[in-house]
């Protein structure tokens, strides 16, 4: 019957739309995404004492421009450091090997991201390379503790911190 053909078509379209929506929700809203038009890229790692709230999918930027994102975070049990894997777009293939990776926070309540500060070397990071100079995330409690500790010590004794860039 003609009526049921049109009905089935409508049903099919509806189901298709529904699954497209489900696909959208799982890939485009989470970090398990498939980014469409994904550029060719290479991966580098960096080790941090403390990554704070850094999440997989966080952006990696240089001079404020996003050059890649964090794709994996794991733990190295030998030196007790966090291993962060970053995926960097191929077009940014001239990052010096002695650049440093720092973890910053966006805004007041924002997520954390990695900022790369360029070094001066003439060799560039390649796939599977490692960034050796890192600075961990600013953890508020540590900062306060450090501040109080300094406050109680004499000016000549100032402890160097294991984490956190002195302002």
């Amino acid at each position: 019957m003609r009526k049921s053909r049109a009905l089935n078509l409508g049903t099919g379209l509806f189901v298709l739309l529904g699954f497209a929506a489900l696909f959208f929700l799982t890939t485009q809203t989470t970090s398990h995404g498939i980014s469409f038009g994904s550029q060719p890229h290479y991966e580098v790692t960096a080790k941090f004492q403390d990554i704070g709230d850094l999440k997989v999918g966080a952006p990696v930027s240089m001079a404020g421009v996003q050059v890649g994102r964090v794709v994996n975070i794991s733990f190295d049990p030998r030196d007790f450091k966090a291993v962060v894997t970053m995926r960097i777009d191929d077009q940014f293939n001239q990052i010096p090997t002695d650049s440093s990776a720092n973890i910053y926070t966006q805004g007041l309540l924002g997520g954390q991201y990695i900022g790369l500060s360029p070094g001066g070397a003439e060799t560039y990071l390649k796939n599977h390379g490692e960034i050796t100079f890192t600075n961990s995330a600013l953890v508020l409690e540590k900062l306060i503790g450090q501040f109080l500790a300094n406050f109680n010590k004499s000016p000549s004794q100032s402890s160097s911190s294991s984490g956190g860039q002195p302002k």
Partner: protein, 254 residues
Amino acid sequence: MISDFWDSLSESLERLGDTVRFLLRIGAQIPGALLRPQLILDQVYNAGALSLVIIMLSGLFVGMVLGLQGFDLLQRFGSEDALGTAAAIGLVKELGPVVTALLFAGRAGTALASEIGLMRATDQLSAMEMMAVDPLQRIVVPRFLGGVIAMPLLAAIFSMIGIYGAQLIGVQIMHVDAGSFWSQMQASVSLRDVNEGIVKSCVFGVACSLIAVYQGYYSEPTAEGVGAATTRTVVTSAVIVLFLDYLITAFFLK
């Protein structure tokens, strides 16, 4: 007055037990009904495709409101960039499944209940029984399955359109950075959140469809009876959905 309350409470409990037993009977008939996929597809159309317009419109407006309210709130903390996260989580975990379920109960649930109720009132169900055809298998189960299949899809569509609505307000009108909108969302929304939303919409689908077909099947075979069944469908569905929402949310949060 206390005894009245007690009476209606025990009546509701009885109804609940009855409904669950009905679900078991439906479950027993599902294999037989699957032999006739055309019937089920027709009902997916009735419950789902015909509800698309209201779901999409509502999703758009809810998303836009979420964009406005979310922006206003986050602006006070200087965190407008988190609008994407706020909208996505709000929609995917809560608003999508719950609002869709309520709308579904209102549109598809009442249609199901009144359709079956009318068949009861005009003796069509009895006639089928007399012709040795099980009306459960032929009429009730396909409609139940149609609702169960349609609900999660509708909820996903609602959430998707809602996120675009929020984006419309946030990025296009309030000038939140598009990159931040999406990247923060992608960094903060986890697969577990999406799973929670999907589980909720599936559970709500079962609940709303069951309530609708139950009310229709056991309605009084009169005009007022069908009307009462329709009303009860919406009211009961709403209460049950909100209650289940609490249970599932608590379960996922522990």
